[in-house]
């Protein structure tokens, strides 16, 4: 069949441009020690509550497709097909009810949903098929799926889909708070619908939009009790969630992972660190001798010094087509940046003991620097970046000249350990009273889910 068309909006899947120095794997290992079974996107406890409600509500619609599903992957896709419209309707509900105050709330897919709100005849909530398909990983549930698989009582046998005790508890709480926005059938009531064979068509969304017409409705305290929370920009905006007593045993419970998360959240606050480095120094000193935590200060110092040197080169290029290495080395401040990097790599090598699976990547980076001259340090850094960095190359060295390889607005992604997400959850659950000051400035807090466009 012949199709003639103009291309619709396409909001590409946001892909992080991290790993300029190839240190992400060991960074993830450190993160797993400090904030186990989490990911960076897991930072607003309210979304845990909302997604629990979505899982419970959509479970009743999951109409035994096991008989027709080809394999486990297809089964999960069919299950997710009933969940995705709810996620997006919650994004829409938040945009409608919070209006101009939506900024700062994590709302994956909000660009497309805004378009859809302007013209609700658009399919897939304004998303292209690839974006709609990828929403499973990059949408709200995707950001919290590890919590639903790995946290105590969230899903049955940790399957990530079938709600268990904790998820039901949160869902009941939210259902009661929804008031007149609540769907017109009971939370636990099994709801049957005509089975759809495709997980990408609009039938599931149409069903939800037809049967949950009140999703836009406000309530007495809809903002406070039902909407995702705004990201705090200072400790004056810290809030304990209304459902904190339900959330706390789930996130910071008595299981080993919960205790670890609680321990490091408290340590981070106790550090009183004004910088990320200071917080890591404190955790390294007091976090215990086992598991390589004592290497944390040295690693973060080296990684930060490496990224600072990368940023220095980027700023020196300043959109120009090239700059000579010799000229770069003469830039004001170049010597200090290079010395800090050299010093940090030296310290790492002095302290490095085989502890982590990917420690060789950190050792290799540290050993890449030979002569301690400014020019030689930058040369080694750029060559290392081109050979071992992941994702887009920022620049490359050709015949003594540095040439940019990606736009000057490349978003810098530092090597971080999910401490921001952990501490935000801890304040929402009432475990700690404030987020350490040093985390406000230095974390990669503009996570990919907040704004699904680069």
């Amino acid at each position: 069949m012949l199709q003639v068309f103009y291309t619709a909006h396409w909001d590409p899947i946001s892909v992080r441009r991290g790993d300029a120095l190839g240190l992400r794997n060991i960074t993830d290992e450190f993160a797993e020690k400090l904030t186990p079974k989490m990911n960076n996107a897991t930072q607003d406890g309210r979304w845990l509550t909302i997604l629990s409600w979505c899982l419970v509500r959509s479970q009743g619609l999951y109409d035994s497709p096991r008989a027709v599903a080809k394999d486990e992957r297809e089964l999960q896709q069919l299950r997710y097909a009933w969940l995705r419209p709810l996620e997006l309707m919650w994004v829409a509900r938040t945009l409608i009810l919070s209006g101009a105050d939506a900024k700062g709330r994590t709302l994956a897919g909000q660009r497309a949903v805004k378009r859809w709100l302007e013209n609700e005849n658009i399919n897939r909530f304004g998303m292209s098929p690839d974006q709609y398909n990828a929403y499973r990983q990059l949408g709200m549930y995707g950001g919290y799926r590890i919590a639903f698989r790995r946290w105590h009582g969230m899903t049955q046998n940790g399957d990530g889909w079938t709600p268990s005790v904790s998820a039901y508890t949160l869902a009941r709480w939210l259902d009661a708070k929804l008031g007149k926005a609540r769907p017109p059938w009971k939370l636990d009531e099994a709801k049957r619908s005509k089975y759809s064979s495709s997980n990408l068509d609009d039938s599931h969304a149409r069903w939800w939009l037809k049967n949950w017409k009140h999703f836009r409705n406000d309530g007495a305290k809809a903002q406070l009790y039902t909407l995702p929370r705004k990201r705090p920009v200072s400790n004056s905006r810290i809030e304990k969630l209304a459902e904190h007593e339900l959330l706390s045993p789930i996130v910071f419970g008595l299981d080993e992972d919960g205790k670890t998360r609680r321990h490091f959240a408290k340590l981070a606050l106790n550090s009183k660190g004004q910088t990320h480095q200071a917080i890591c120094d404190y955790i390294g000193e007091t976090g215990g001798a086992e598991g390589g935590i004592q290497l944390l200060p040295h690693f973060t110092r080296m990684a930060d010094a490496g990224i600072a040197a990368m940023e220095f080169v980027n700023n020196a290029l300043n959109g120009n087509p090239k700059i000579s290495l010799a000229k770069l080395a003469e830039f004001p401040g170049a010597g200090i940046v290079a010395d800090q990097l050299h010093d940090a790599t030296h310290r790492w090598l002095q302290n490095s003991k085989p502890t982590f699976r990917h420690q060789d990547a950190a050792d290799r980076f540290a050993r890449a620097f030979g002569l301690p001259t400014t020019k030689a340090i930058f040369e080694s850094l750029i060559l290392y970046h081109e050979q071992f960095g992941g994702g887009l190359r920022w620049f490359a060295l050709r015949d003594g000249t540095i040439e940019p390889r990606s736009g000057k607005n490349t978003r810098v992604s530092r090597y971080r350990f999910r401490l921001w997400s952990l501490c935000r959850l801890a304040t929402q659950c009432g475990i700690i009273k404030a987020i350490p000051t040093g985390l406000f400035e230095s974390e990669n807090i503009s996570d990919e889910n907040e704004d699904d466009n680069e």
């Binding site: 012949l2 003639v4 790993d19 992957r73 302007e118 690839d130 995707g142 990408l200 050979q387 490359a396």
Partner: protein
């Protein structure tokens, strides 16, 4: 296609081909293809990769391996042709910009220029889809996409493109009559691939399908074309006579193109005469000087062309994005109503994209033809008549004319008012054929890298090869250039083997420079192991095994986070831990595992038997290769599990033996 309005949809939508697998493709682009865009967006969509490029890093390795494996399965059967590096819109852009360079080991990328400085501006995709359910050839389909979209992110995210796309069933055998049905597309592809110095399977695909009726291809190729040649093969504006709608009287043409070339009155008159039109029956959709599309010089028209249009009576239609202010007269009821439409009812006011579409609507009475093309409204694209009536064309262009289709918006536009100033810009770039050009290609067979280059100043050619060896890279200067017998090119060869891997060739000639990736022509078994930036080689090997198992029916290789499930992982293996802690479960676990492995073998065997019945050589070779890889994977699994628990590898060992027996039974060789 009767008066059908263009829809508003995604170009990256292949949900219609859910039951098909891509088996080959040819893609053309003016700009050099963006490997990051291809790897993270385009290829995952067309190859139907379920995993995501990067979320929180958990899924990235399995995404990369899946992409690598799917590209390996298509090795050499995907080709991209773009224009010369020296002709790119923003000047030379070095291709080594991402961690995805390795995709060019499997995808053939070529630029035009082997025959001289020829501009490739066509945007054509040909996709060969193989049916998954029914292995008969009859289920295969050929998809054809003609658009204005280059293969980069901006084309999809920041621009609006016009697209014509269709697919046809492919017959089991090639036929000359099928090839003939595609008209000008066939010589166009022959010339394009010749200019790029690349061979593709496109002709074989076209010869197995008949071009549907109701539309036709029109194309341009660079060169001077005599009237005699144009009679048999009408290129450029010589083909416009085929676009005349039925009927009598002058044809009214409506043109929308973001780039308008430099037109003299005689050139414009000649262009219009080609389709029995007249300049004063021509309407050009254009923008005001304060239009958002003018602010970044997205749209361009030189002032001399505006003069030509004004003097010749061309009507300028004003397309506005603040179109809510534009009142449209509804012909049916005579009412005046406000409209939000610029190009489409879903074209919202806050849409920041700019139109890159090139649309021509030819109308005579109620009869009309819509032409969707890559060709801008410029003499470079359509050609200039010379004194001897021959036609000089500079670009490769391709388009499709559709009977009785409309553009859906130009009827709603109003003419420029005297107070409105059309936007002009004399500084904009023109797609010209420069006298200086540089073309090259390189491939490596595992021992020798062969480089071929052609340029306007061959005596000034310098080159070097970047080589990777373990964890270091270095350059080798190319010294042994030889002039080819036709005196047109230079070739060089270098020995690269052992642990060394060629990465790219850097060439310089006067002020021009280019970098070309080295196509990996090694035998399949040598290029199987991926060298993917950011993925631990050991993890890569395990992921490859798991994806292979998954291809033959293994469930739950990966958990929902995209991480390897316990069995494939070499750390924290839940199953193995369980076995160690609860010896009583051991027997059941081994049986369960053996059953799973043997199911994989049976599924592979079933596929092989099916392919044997239909005598599909390529499919059989593919399955044999997979069979060997399965045996090797079971062997590795045996070794991996044996390291952890001494009694665990029994199932893998049995599976390995069984797989080898079956391979021996089909080939007679010992495995």
């Amino acid at each position: 296609m009767n008066n059908q309005q263009p829809k508003w949809q995604s170009l990256l939508d292949w949900t219609e081909f859910a039951q098909y697998t891509l088996a080959g493709g040819l893609f053309t682009s003016f700009d050099r293809p963006d490997s990051t865009f291809l790897a993270e967006h385009f290829l995952p969509a067309v190859l139907k990769i379920q995993r995501q490029p990067e979320t929180d890093r958990r899924e990235q390795p399995s995404f990369l391996i899946e992409l690598h494996q799917k590209l390996q399965a298509l090795h050499g059967r995907l080709a991209v042709i773009s224009s010369l590096a020296s002709q790119e819109a923003n000047g030379f852009r070095n291709p080594t910009i991402s961690g995805y360079d390795w995709i060019w080991n499997s995808i053939r990328h070529s630029t035009t220029g082997r025959r001289g400085p020829e501009v490739q501006h066509a945007k054509l995709w040909l996709l060969y889809w193989k049916g998954n359910d029914d292995k008969n050839f009859a289920s295969d389909r050929l998809e054809v996409v003609v658009s204005s979209a280059n293969l980069n992110r901006d084309a999809f995210q920041r621009q609006i493109q016009a697209v014509c796309r269709f697919h046809v069933e492919m017959e089991s055998k090639p036929a000359q009559k099928n090839l003939k049905s595609w008209g000008i597309l066939v010589p166009f592809l022959q010339n394009l691939t010749s200019s790029a110095g690349v061979s593709t399977e496109a002709m074989a695909w076209l010869s197995r399908a008949t071009c549907p009726t109701g539309f036709q291809f029109l194309a341009s190729i660079p060169g001077k074309h005599s009237p005699k040649m144009l009679k048999s093969t009408p290129w450029g504006q010589a083909a416009l006579k085929h676009l005349q709608p039925k009927g009598k009287g002058s044809v009214i043409a409506t043109v929308m193109s973001p780039y308008v070339g430099s037109w003299r009155p005689d050139q414009l008159t000649s262009w219009c005469a080609s389709f029995q039109g007249r300049p004063n029956h021509t309407r050009l959709v254009w923008i005001e000087k304060n239009h958002p599309w003018a602010s970044h010089k997205f749209w361009q028209m030189p002032s001399n062309s505006l003069d030509t249009f004004v003097r010749s009576g061309v009507e300028l239609l004003n397309i506005r994005t603040d179109s809510s202010k534009v009142c449209n007269k509804d012909k049916s009821n005579g009412l005046i109503e406000e409209s939000n439409v610029a190009m489409h009812e879903q074209h919202q006011k806050n849409d920041e994209r700019w139109s890159h579409a090139k649309i021509y609507l030819f109308r005579r009475g109620n009869s009309k033809r819509l032409f969707i093309t890559s060709a801008n409204f410029s003499p470079s694209a359509w050609g200039t008549r010379l004194a001897d009536n021959s036609l000089m064309i500079k670009n490769f262009e391709i388009g499709i004319a559709i009977d009785q289709a409309t553009d859906g918006f130009s009827d709603h536009l109003q003419a420029f008012e005297p107070s409105q100033t059309p936007y002009v810009n004399d500084e904009g770039y023109q797609i010209e054929s420069p006298s200086d050009f540089l073309w090259a290609r390189a491939h490596w067979d595992g021992k020798t890298i062969q480089i071929e280059a052609r340029g306007s100043a061959m005596h000034d050619l310098q080159g070097k090869l970047q080589v990777q060896e373990n964890e270091s890279t270095f350059f080798q200067v190319i010294t042994n250039w030889q002039i080819t017998t036709d005196q047109q090119s230079q070739t060089a060869s270098m020995e690269i083997s052992g642990s060394q891997r060629p990465r790219y060739v850097h060439l310089q000639m006067k002020n021009l420079q280019t970098e070309v990736f080295v196509f990996d022509d090694r035998p399949e078994d040598q290029r199987r192991s991926p060298d993917l930036t950011g993925v631990d080689p050991k993890l890569a090997a395990r992921l490859m095994d798991e994806l292979l198992f998954e291809r033959y029916g293994k469930l739950n290789s990966f958990d929902d986070d995209g991480e390897l499930s316990s069995e494939g992982s070499d750390e924290g293996s839940k199953a193995t831990e369980k076995e160690t802690q609860q010896p009583a479960d051991y027997t059941v676990a081994v049986f369960a595992q053996a059953r799973e492995y043997f199911q994989i073998i049976n599924n592979w065997w079933s596929s092989f038997q099916k392919a044997s019945q239909t005598q599909q050589r390529a499919e059989l070779d593919f399955l044999k290769r997979d069979g060997k890889m399965l045996a090797e994977a079971f062997k590795r699994r045996e070794q991996l599990q044996g390291l952890k628990v001494s009694h665990a590898p029994i199932a893998a060992r049995l599976a390995c033996e069984e797989m080898r027996n079956r391979l021996t039974s089909i080939s007679g060789d010992d495995f």
